[in-house]
Symmetry: C2
Subunit: 304 residues, 2 copies
């Protein structure tokens, strides 16, 4: 079974189990819309891939950990799309939750998903209390203060923010949680897997900045040009578009090299390369430069 | 030391510990404003009072559980005050978080407080992993789906909602979590303490409905007349003001009678009675009826 299929099945199973019986139906529908409207599921896939490399001796725990990461990610998207932040009408090519339901339900759906992430963990882990506590701590670090994605988002509200710190928290933190969760769900030490998450997470944030400049809204599934509009810190602004693409390539390379020696090293490196091309397709970059300048810059692949 | 003082000290200690170092300062300030701008601290006091009745053999766990309940409560207030819901400019006599900081920071402060509630638990409970997991499960039930306070708030977004179900979830759920947490932090069974939380929680919601009608904004510390304005389910609407007051008195009596036989029974009953008078002061009711009708109705104290 492909990783993606395992993720989708686990999400569907754990979502239904965690919703329980008797919840307000529109809230459940809003949360379902937030979770099951597409999405690359890269965080849960990373978690499962690392778990496979670590022996995956408690797959029910791996599944719950993977699902909880995706629920946190979806919660952050729902709140980020709201009028107080991006005011985005679309997400993954569908109406955003506040557009499809209402602002109150989007606010509550995000809250409900955060709590559901913990519920999924608590429902899965009775057999491994120590691993479970380590996984919940790891998840909490990826989301909360001082360096999780909520803190990352909040750096946008400060008068000054270090771009690296902002990106590491806004996106990197939950990627680090994802790779570490894969190890923790097998009772392994998470440290050897932290770099993979950190590099990939930073690459994702840079990719997001790049696509915000070069993609069109239809292919991106959400509005473009948001960083400039909201005066947000952005690699494309800070490094220029060419610099940002070079930085992205470098991060992807570092991510691939960071995979520790293990039986699944090739599979993990392939996953990284596949994601890199999905995130910043070479054809898209070349097309953009063709339209916007006479010279098509070579993609820089050396460290800088 | 009084319960309230213990709560304030625990809140201050665990908040600082959970914030950590390096978080965005305005986010931290917004979260601090949400937690340290007054508040009766009834949920954490209930937790500590029940723990005392159960022997309180792990006070560091009791403190963390009490703090996590209050953080969840504060998170819900921050999000409820936002323009998408009550659009309340004031809370506890101070500007609400979105007024004092901004809507984005209020949204993130609420998210951050939910996650911080779990972090406080995870930082406290290494010595008692089983109790810790039971406490986190109990907290999650009080907040999440299907019957926690997030679900309760979401019943306002449904076209039809049962008033009892709405009140039990919107307020009662976290009160039940509070009394149960007191028992769980000592390794005791929570069931004997659930009724106390349920009756008190319902009484609080009814008191809120009553005060929304009879209080003035200055003494309440937030806008009044909100239920009618937002067409929310309300006991005062459903039962009339007199009926709501009688219902409140009955619930308080049931709460006091539900306290199981224990060494701290009198203290717990006093806490209930003290809260009842604080919530719906007799003088306030009498003053209201004097101003609004010729007859001052007797407070009904028999079951109905």
């Amino acid at each position: 079974m492909s990783l993606l299929l395992r993720v989708e099945q686990a999400l569907s199973h754990h979502f239904d189990q965690a919703v329980g019986i008797g919840a307000p139906p529109r809230l459940v529908a809003a949360m379902r819309h937030a979770v099951f409207s597409g999405g690359a599921r890269i965080r849960p896939q990373l978690c499962m891939a690392v778990a496979a490399a670590c022996g995956d001796d408690a797959p029910e725990l791996t599944h719950a950990a993977a699902v909880s990461l995706e629920l946190m990610h979806c919660a952050s998207l729902v709140h980020d799309d709201m009028p107080a932040f991006d005011n985005a009408d679309t997400r993954r090519g569908h109406p955003s939750v506040h557009k499809a339901f209402s602002e109150p339900l989007a606010l509550l759906a995000g809250d409900g998903l955060i709590v559901m992430a913990y519920r999924v963990m608590l429902q899965a882990g009775a057999q491994h209390p120590k691993r479970l506590l380590a996984l919940m701590d790891n998840l909490t670090q990826g989301v909360g203060l001082p360096h999780g994605i909520v803190a990352g988002q909040a750096w946008e509200c400060e008068t000054s923010a270090d771009l690296g710190q902002y990106q590491r928290a806004k996106t990197g933190a939950l990627f680090v949680s994802a790779t570490c969760a894969g190890a923790l769900s097998c009772g392994h030490a998470p440290e050897p897997w932290a770099s993979l998450g950190a590099y990939l997470g930073e690459a994702y944030q840079v990719a997001d900045d790049i696509r915000d400049v070069i993609a069109d809204a239809a292919s991106l599934g959400k509005p473009v040009g948001q960083d400039a509009l909201h005066a947000r810190p952005s690699s494309a602004q800070a490094l220029g578009l060419e610099g940002a693409i070079a930085h992205f390539d470098h991060l992807v390379e570092q991510a691939a090299s960071s995979v520790p020696a293990c039986s699944h090293r090739d599979m993990l490196r392939q996953l990284v390369q596949h994601e890199a091309e999905r995130l910043v397709p070479k054809a898209l970059c070349e097309g953009y430069f063709k339209d916007h300048a006479s010279a098509i810059p070579a993609r820089v692949r050396t460290p800088h």
